[in-house]
């Protein structure tokens, strides 16, 4: 018997063809990252039993919930799978307390006992004084916590979280993310989190899975993803420059332009350059950098006391420089600038 979730699923809905293999151990959190339309929500709905599989198998703690085609199928209400929906989906006609008690009541617990248990759970999430409030009266952060309490109240063996923080504003998001991490740690079952925010994924999950167009393009720890992204989406997510090209010795040809690298390689490769390793100059730099070219500044995006500067051209590159450098170099969109990258700063690995 395998504890936790083991799922191998295939299903198509409209333009989306989902084909995913996933395993989540009890007590672990796996985050599914992906752009809109990648099939993240559909994946969760399939695991919850709200969408049927075309082919595949869903197993939770050794029990087969679904096997398709033709195998057993457990309806959502008979799966020990709870879901925190995007925008919460709290029942608008019930108080926070009755929302949390709903699952217990549906599973046959008496009204009084269910409400007592629900009150305890709200109390644990610091919401004791909001028990009588209707969802419409709750703040975004409170509603998120009530939704979490409602899902955790049934003590599911698998907890699904669909963009749990997406509806929150930036300040609430930070504190709620921290709390969420704490409360998730207290849940003994497997957890699957869907998000498009890498910070949420890194803060809440041990293992990251990147879904694009219904398929897993990469998985691993956040360090692994950041170090060796395998798609433009992942590179964008972790904020590094990624090039796909053909290597020949110490040269990598990326769509007509070349990059000189320090390691020798051959064949189809990916080359990654951290924005901090990209140096910008007003005049052509002398000395050691092997990769030097001129390009137009396309975009400047402030990030704290630093700025990310996108330089166009055949080798589009994002450089991260200090705010002071932006002023010194006179960087404005449209200005020409020299880009320099040391060969040793380019990491090359097979595509």
């Amino acid at each position: 018997m395998t504890a936790g979730l083991v799922a191998e699923l295939e299903l198509s809905r409209g333009p989306l063809a989902l084909a995913v293999h996933l395993a989540v151990a009890p007590g672990a959190t796996v985050a599914v990252l992906g752009p809109n339309g990648a099939g993240k929500t559909t994946l969760l709905r399939a695991l919850a039993g709200l969408v049927a599989l075309d082919r595949g198998c869903v197993e939770l703690d050794g029990a087969v919930l679904e096997q398709a085609p033709g195998g057993p199928w457990a309806p959502p209400e008979h799966r020990s799978v709870a879901m925190v929906f995007q925008d919460h989906a709290l029942f608008p006609h019930l108080s926070a307390l009755d929302n949390v008690a709903f699952g217990l009541r549906a599973r046959g617990m008496g009204r009084r006992a269910a409400r007592t248990r629900a009150a305890e759970r709200l109390d644990r999430l610091g919401l004791a004084d909001r028990a009588d409030a209707r969802p419409g009266q709750l703040s975004g952060g409170e509603a998120q916590r009530v939704a979490l309490a409602r899902a955790l109240a049934v003590e599911p063996r698998l907890l699904l979280l669909d963009e749990p923080l997406a509806a929150l504003d930036a300040t609430t998001r930070l504190t709620t993310r921290r709390e969420l991490a704490r409360h998730l740690a207290g849940h003994g079952g497997a957890r699957l989190l869907v998000t498009h925010d890498p910070l949420d994924a890194m803060a809440l999950a041990d293992h990251l899975v990147v879904l694009e167009a219904g398929r897993i393009v990469q998985e691993g720890s956040s360090a692994e993803l950041a170090g060796r992204p395998r798609s433009a989406y992942v590179a964008d997510l972790v904020g590094v420059n990624l090039f796909r090209g053909r290597a020949d010795g110490d040269r990598v040809d990326v769509g007509g332009a070349g990059l000189v690298v320090s390691a020798r390689a051959s064949g189809d490769v990916l080359a990654v350059v951290h924005p901090r390793a990209v140096v910008l100059h007003r005049v052509r730099p002398d000395g050691s950098p092997r990769n030097v070219w001129r390009g137009p500044v396309e975009e400047i995006e402030p990030a704290g006391d630093r700025a990310r500067v996108r330089v166009g051209g055949p080798r589009p590159m994002v450089a991260e420089v200090t705010a002071a450098a932006v002023a010194d170099l006179g960087l404005v969109p449209g200005a020409e600038v020299w880009v320099a990258v040391k060969a040793t700063e380019i990491d090359v690995y097979p595509a």
Binding site: A89, H93, G103, G136, R150, V154
Partner: protein, 268 residues
């Protein structure tokens, strides 16, 4: 003639037409109020015929509303959610009482449920149930005309309901019936209540189908509208006016209640 001038003349014309329409709507009501025997109101309401008709109408209209809700809500759910082939035909059928002249509805009910009717003969023979010219028959006639008023808003509410709430309920362990009872129904409540109120108003005012199918037996099938008609026919003019006033009051109240906040959509 310049443009602004033409527009001004057009708007003046519309104003006149509008005023005409408004008076056309208001005048009958004013006429009714004008001829209401205000001082004898209490006396008229105490007349056995009048009081009996009021009592009977209250009972039959509320029963008819209950029947319409009991039949209409499940039908609305099926129309909104079930994936069955004859759905469009059934939806059209549910609308028939809206457009059918009530007296024709009464004739049709007679032919279907009368003592020699399609189904009525079996009801009579096997179960001993006779609907025509009984209070139950009046309820049937009223429920028939009131049904669309329940079905239409309920179908709209079930069809446009946010399914995520039902999905959430299912993942929390609620089976189909629990989901319907504890989530779908409460969320559709404003539409259902509005439908029930309209259905009740329609049942209360029902005349054509009732008098055709249930007749005008005093105390048994003489509802308020039937009594108004009988009053006018037999020269009990004041009784007719007083009962008409009651129906007007109910209609106006329903209109006001419909606008009230308890029917407004629940906000998430």
């Amino acid at each position: 003639m310049s443009h602004p001038e033409r527009r001004r003349r057009a708007s003046r014309l519309a104003l006149v037409a509008g005023a005409l329409a408004a008076s056309f709507l208001a005048l009958p009501l004013v006429g009714l109020l004008w001829r209401t025997p205000w001082s004898g109101l209490g006396h008229s309401l105490g007349q056995p015929g009048v009081a009996g008709a009021l009592r009977l109408s209250l009972v039959t209209s509320l029963s008819a509303t209950a029947v319409a809700v009991a039949l209409g809500v499940p039908l609305a759910w099926v129309l909104a959610r079930a994936d069955l082939p004859g759905r469009r035909v059934i939806r059209a059928l549910a609308l028939v009482p809206l457009v059918l002249p009530p007296v024709v509805g009464g004739v049709a009910l007679l032919l279907a449920l009368g003592r020699r009717g399609l189904v009525g003969q079996w009801l009579d023979q096997w179960l001993g149930i006779r609907l025509p010219f009984t209070t139950a028959g009046a309820v049937v006639a009223q429920a028939f005309v009131a049904l669309p008023f329940v079905v239409l808003p309920a179908e709209g509410a079930f069809g446009s309901a946010d399914r995520r709430f039902e999905d959430a309920a299912r993942t929390l362990g609620a089976g189909g019936w629990t989901v319907f009872r504890r989530v779908t129904l409460p969320l559709a409540w404003p539409a259902l209540a509005a439908g029930a109120v309209l259905a009740w108003a329609r049942a209360l005012g029902e005349f054509g189908a009732t008098i055709t199918f249930a007749g005008s037996a005093p105390g048994r099938t003489t509802t308020v509208p039937v009594e108004v008609y009988l009053g006018l026919e037999s020269g009990r003019f004041e009784d007719a006016v007083v009962l008409s006033l009651v129906l007007v009051a109910v209609s106006v109240t329903v209109l006001l209640v419909r606008r009230d906040s308890w029917l407004g959509p629940l906000r998430a």
